[in-house]
């Protein structure tokens, strides 16, 4: 693994990238300057052995995360049907009795977190688990299915001789997808800076198309009344004005279209709840009843949604024992079980003393933090783009990123400073984002920060393309 500082610079690269969807390259800074998000010229180059090591690490980490998910779900009282039935109106989940409550997930969402986690398993969550009061025993339903398409492991890695370490898992709303799948691939084809037969670790596009086909086929097997090609809605928050959310969602939608499904791009505000039957609808006008949404992808955090007005009705609709409720991609378990920093201490608790624990950094909830731990990254349980992350080395603050997160608490992860590579503006610190498509590693996208501030990967970190076996 090395950083090639002076690669080919394409003439008109900014326009070329924009024409492929990277319309959000210019990042305005607080001091009025503009930063280019995409790095043109520099790139990272890997040996195939290193890519294989990352691929293996991601596969193992994914398996460990499945174990952690089972562990977390088992630690929620609402896993038990009898509890759900008896405590229909009362609270059972408290920070000291439930691992989901501990990280701030409202209790009303727990059942659907558990259900969507177990979907596809015909023994773990049966009809009677959903039909608590036996109102639908005349028409028992088989197991449901909750499609999950993609996620991204963020790894520390310093090349051959080092072991990849999990920094975090963005399993719910990972972005930089378009840059990884499309922009760096076209960069590779245009700059021809490697003759190696593998060229780049990047099979994201094809795997996404396959992932839609496989997941939707499973969903139709569980819900045979859906049309052969159900329409998939794609929602994003239109108040995000840079275009990043919109183009990432539009690209994901493009892969679903290529998989053969009708699609429609909509705004979060157009998701409506019918007050009569609780159905979820695509609402364009004020005076109409829009079409029911059977399947929707949303680039919007569950940890925000379940505190909003629509949260309860959406989860109520999801709980329909007849399986007619809207299917949400990514499902709520991705947020509750994986895509928060509470996963890190749970993984360490389960695997810290096992061989695969070498892929982890020691991590603890605040109450369990060892007194001797003097170098650590303090991370809010829920946070985006490095907000409220603080790095401490030998009890001395190294760098801190401001933000509004942290209400639900913090975790402490042993400090592992990102590797350093010299660059024109200072030391460059890459984080390796390994794309998991339909549960398998499928490619790499790298973001690098610059200088001490760049040790935390923030929204001003650059996207840097990569090659395998470059001759430069």
């Amino acid at each position: 693994m090395r950083r090639v500082a002076h690669g080919v610079q394409r003439h008109g690269w900014e326009q070329t990238n924009a024409s492929l969807g990277l319309t959000y390259n210019a990042t305005p800074l607080a001091d009025g300057r503009t930063l280019s998000y995409w790095r043109e010229g520099p790139f990272y180059d890997f040996d195939l052995d290193e890519i294989l090591a990352l691929e293996q690490a991601a596969t193992t980490l994914h398996r460990m995360c499945v174990t952690a998910g089972d562990h977390l779900v088992a630690g929620c009282p609402r896993r038990d049907r009898a509890v759900r039935r008896e405590a229909y109106l009362s609270a059972e989940c408290w920070p000291d009795t439930c691992r989901l409550a501990k990280i701030g997930i409202p209790e009303y969402a727990h059942e659907q977190v558990i259900r969507t986690w177990f979907d596809g398993d015909k023994d773990a969550w049966t009809h009677s688990d959903k039909d608590l009061f036996g109102a639908h025993t005349h028409a028992p339903q088989g197991p449901d299915y909750s499609p999950s398409v993609y996620g991204r492991f963020d790894l520390w890695y310093a090349g051959k001789g080092s072991t990849p370490k999990l920094l975090e898992f963005n399993a719910q709303t990972p972005t930089a997808l378009l840059e990884s799948a499309v922009i760096q691939w076209s960069w590779l084809e245009q700059t021809l800076q490697t003759h190696h037969h593998e060229r780049q670790w990047n099979v994201v596009h094809e795997r996404l198309v396959e992932a839609w086909r496989r997941n939707m086929a499973e969903l139709r097997a569980a819900r045979p009344w859906l049309p052969e090609r159900p329409k998939i809605y794609f929602a994003y928050e239109t108040s995000e004005t840079s275009g990043e959310d919109r183009m990432n969602v539009a690209y994901l939608m493009e892969t679903a279209t290529q998989a053969g499904f009708p699609t429609e791009l909509i705004a979060m505000s157009q998701i409506g709840v019918d007050q009569v039957d609780g159905s979820i609808r695509f609402q364009q006008g004020q005076f109409e009843v829009g079409p029911q949404i059977d399947v929707i992808f949303l680039l919007y955090p569950w940890e925000w949604l379940w505190h909003e007005e629509g949260g309860r009705p959406i989860f109520r609709n999801m709980a329909d024992p007849t399986k007619r409720g809207t299917v949400w991609i990514e499902p709520p378990w991705t947020a509750a079980l994986w895509s928060n920093k509470g996963l890190l201490p749970v993984l360490w608790e389960l695997f810290g003393d096992k061989p695969e624990g070498e892929l982890l950094l020691p991590a603890y909830f605040a109450v369990d933090k060892p007194a001797a731990m003097s170098s650590y990254a303090k991370k809010p349980i829920w946070s985006r783009e490095g907000a409220n992350v603080e790095l401490v080395r030998d009890n001395v603050p190294l760098v801190a990123n401001p933000g509004e997160y942290g209400r639900e608490g913090f975790v402490y992860q042993e400090l592992r400073e990102l590797p350093s590579f010299p660059g024109n503006e200072g030391d460059c610190h890459p984080v390796l984002g390994v794309w998991m498509i339909d549960g398998e590693p499928a490619g790499l996208g790298i973001r690098e920060g610059v200088g001490v501030d760049g040790l935390i990967t923030r929204n001003d970190a650059h996207f840097v393309p990569h090659t395998i076996g470059s001759h430069l």
């Binding site: 593998e198 099979v203 094809e206 239109t238 840079s242 990043e244 183009m247 409506g272 925000w304 007005e309």
Partner: protein
């Protein structure tokens, strides 16, 4: 797994996607041009929609349909609308028809409530991704 290909054969993007990249409007952006209607009193305070049907059973007084593409959706009776909108009399059949409302009678607001999720609760422009 190692037998599977590690990079893509080709990435082909559709005209629809490339059109979006070229600055085309997303389907949903057109919704920004849609007007939102509220039944208001003479002080631009939202009142119950029953007051704007013309069955004579209103609460008494004279009411208007205030509309603007800029009004937030989902406001409740009692809220005062900001300036900048337009309005017409509740029983102005020509205007009602022109705006796609039923010419007379109660305007059914539908049964679907939208604008119930999104914007992170604070309306600021922040990325939902990470």
């Amino acid at each position: 797994m190692t037998a599977r290909r590690r990079n893509t054969a080709r990435v082909v993007l559709s005209a629809a996607f490339l059109g979006l990249a070229a600055g085309g409007t997303a389907a949903c952006d057109s919704a920004d041009d849609d007007h939102t209607f509220y039944c208001v009193d003479q002080n631009d305070t939202i009142v119950n929609e029953d007051d704007c049907d013309d069955d004579g059973n209103g609460a008494g007084g004279f009411f208007f349909w205030a509309h603007s593409a800029r009004y937030a959706k989902g406001l409740k009776p009692g809220a005062k609308l900001p300036g900048g909108g337009s309005k017409f009399a509740y029983n102005d059949t020509a205007q009602r028809s022109a705006w796609g409302l039923p010419a007379t009678g109660r305007v059914s607001n539908g049964t679907v409530k939208s604008n119930v999720v999104g914007s992170g609760g604070d309306g600021s422009s922040k990325s939902s991704g990470g």
